[in-house]
């Protein structure tokens, strides 16, 4: 593995910074003893990919506004004094330019960079995140590489091959940052991408699910905190009210009772102490619960067992033993027009003519047992009712 200057490439994330990167090659990126601390960075793609999305544009940040008063566009030399809205963007070749210069130069299509003559496009300008453009470039390169080079320790059989891989990645990063053998390096990247397409895709999904689970966890914790705070406030309020009531009771007692005042006070004090202890005990049990446990306890606390499903719980009876619908239909002039339905509109809407007949007949047989209103109770009800039940219901619909 050839490497320019025998340098190990620095990363922005490792707090040791660039000084530590001037180490000799013998310091491999990862040694077994410290593997945990380094692999901790890996899920975020070597720290470049920001899972939380917490990065801000460099000059927009409030604390930097004072400093950025010195900002000056290297092309038109206008500064924040002349143009308070000055916003410097960075080109693909890492040269700063103000927005008005970009508009002026690149609106009509791709044009050469006024500083290094590389052909640029307007859309390729991006906001600056870091003060140092070297860092800006390194971050961009690493972000780009992290997308493809997202293998992890689990993807390798042993530590040695993993370290080789990490070194390879650093090699490529270094080359890209310092513009060494760009063509060859690009070819290496393309080859890697081709060889590892499946693993890359799987790792992207793994990272995504990791990020989303992180978000969910945060959300859950926040909710829990809010819930606890609310409960505490409520408990405090309740206690305050209780104390108030007790005090009032004591005063009332002292007023009306003819017992010894000292005894009364002592008694109420003892009572209060007892209540406080009881509350504290109850509190201990309630605070133990947390949101995730609450779900399980709700299922587990089943003092009432969940009975199996019973489709209908009322005494379902629709008089179906008292009639059968004729298969041939009925003579029914009212629904005739609806039934003809040349266009199939009724069918498409789900209207069923049989429903009409069923309703008519069902309501008819439902009324069979009911005696006509006559103003005074009839004693001999039973024979009539049984007679009614035997009526042949086929008669209800006139055959057509």
């Amino acid at each position: 593995m050839s490497r320019a200057g025998g340098l190990l490439k620095g990363t922005v994330i490792r707090k040791s910074g660039f000084q530590s990167t001037q180490q000799s090659r013998s310091a491999t990126p990862q040694v077994a003893s410290s593997s945990t601390s380094i692999t901790a960075n890996i899920p975020l793609g070597g720290g470049v990919k920001d899972a939380t999305g917490k990065t801000a544009e460099y000059s927009v940040h409030l604390s930097l506004l004072l400093k950025s008063m010195e900002d000056q566009c290297p092309v038109c030399k206008s500064d924040r004094y002349l143009n308070p809205k000055l916003r410097l963007l960075v080109s693909a070749c890492y040269h700063k330019m103000c927005e008005s210069c970009i508009d002026r130069l690149f609106t009509l299509g791709p044009a050469p960079c006024p500083i290094c003559n590389k052909t640029l496009r307007k859309l390729a300008f991006m906001p600056q995140t870091f003060e140092d453009l070297g860092v800006e470039k390194e971050v961009a390169v690493r972000r780009r590489l992290a997308k493809d080079f997202n293998k992890k320790r689990e993807d390798f059989p042993d530590l040695k091959t993993y370290n080789d891989y990490l070194e390879d990645v650093e090699d490529i990063t270094f080359n890209l940052i310092n513009d060494i053998d760009i063509a060859k390096t690009e070819a290496r990247i393309a080859k890697f991408r081709q060889d590892n397409a499946a693993i890359i895709e799987a790792n992207i999904q793994r990272d995504e699910s990791y990020a989303s689970s992180l978000r969910e966890k945060e959300e859950g914790e926040r909710r829990e905190r809010e819930e606890t705070a609310r409960r505490l406030a409520q408990e405090e309020e309740e206690q305050r009210i209780l104390r108030e009531i007790e005090r009032q009771q004591l005063i009332d007692k002292l007023e009306h009772s003819d017992k010894d005042a000292r005894k009364l006070v002592a008694k109420s004090r003892a009572e209060r102490l007892k209540q406080q202890q009881a509350r504290a005990a109850a509190l201990g049990t309630t605070t133990q619960r947390d949101a995730s446990k609450a779900i399980r306890t709700r299922a587990a606390q089943s003092t009432i067992p969940d009975p199996p499903h019973v489709p209908l719980q009322d005494d379902w009876y629709a008089y179906e033993d008292k009639f059968t619908l004729r298969s041939g239909g009925y003579y029914d002039p009212i629904s005739e027009a609806v039934r003809r339905d040349a266009d199939g509109i009724m069918r498409a809407g789900g209207y069923v003519v049989e429903d009409i007949w069923e309703r008519a007949i069902r309501t008819a047989v439902a009324g069979l047992d009911i005696l006509p209103l006559s103003g005074f109770p009839i004693k001999e009800a039973t024979p009539q009712a049984t007679a009614a039940r035997d009526v042949d219901v086929e008669m209800v619909g006139v055959p057509g």
Binding site: H61, Y94, R298, I345, A348, G349, G350
Partner: protein
Amino acid sequence: MDAVEKANEARQKRWSKDKKVGEGMYAVVYQGHEAETGKRVAIKKIKVGQFKDGLDMSAIREVKFLRELKHQNVIELFDVFSSKTNLNLVLEFLDADLELIIKDRAIVFLPADIKSWMAMTLRGLEFCHRNWVLHRDLKPNNLLIASDGQLKIADFGLARDFADPGYKMTCQVITRWYRPPELLFGCRYYNTAVDMWSVGCIFAELMLRIPYLPGESDMDQLKTTFRALGTPTEEDWPGHTKLPDYVPVGQFPKPPLRDLFTAATADALNLLGKCLIYEPRKRISAKDALSHPYFFALPNPTHPSKLPKSANQLAPRPIEEANGNVDQNTSGAAVKALNPSATSTNKLKRKASVAITEVDARSVARRLDFSNIKTP
């Protein structure tokens, strides 16, 4: 004073109003109690005289059907009486609705809870259908929860009886998000299947915790529906192109339900699929749905008394219950308009907190010494 007035006065004395809990387009809702037993009730005072045809239509419908329907899962109408110029409905007092519970993010639904709510909804609906009543406005907001956990179908302001020959029915019913495609296509002859579509949407909403098909307009509702369930073909749904208001809204492929409902069991998806069949005649009926394997599979439906309750349950009921659904379209739009704004404020808040943490992140990044690296 004649006999009718006397009877009315006797009834009026039986109930007393306590406090106002909501006001809607055509009614004011009070919390009240029965004078003798102290039983809590809701008294819906319907404003009379504002409407040029006399009583509001939905009040008539509500009284007409609730007087006849008495079931564990249907809201009970205890009494009706008039006071001066007002009509008062004495209803069961129920302190929460399913929408409140769905929206309460602190509550976690177990699959058994959803099963229990679905079973209770279907039982209530089956009872209505068995008695030839179409509800025509099923939505989580109209499924009220009693203190013992029983779910009760409420708001019969849009209900009507069905299976009467030759009468056209209006297609401007059911809150838009729960409206089946045949109504959106202007169908004037329909049956119980329209309610089952709404039940399907509610089922999906219980699993997703957000409305399943939130269309912004009637046209958009069709598009949203087809995007979620695929555009129906003539084979899926014979004759639908001949419906009065049929408009082609574009071809969408049918994505598998599994893509959206990742955690649902196969039985649950099967039932959901059957509730959301395009052809109304093939759509599952409430009675058949209750016998679906989904309900018999483990876990058993949660016992009503153990169902999760909203923390806001004791707070005054939102006003929608009193809102008589006089104008379906506006109420739908209002709900829709509220949701994005609520989420956008959340987003803003999140951004603000991120900005604060950035300060730390930046100060660390800037403390590193990069002076010895040359800018390329």
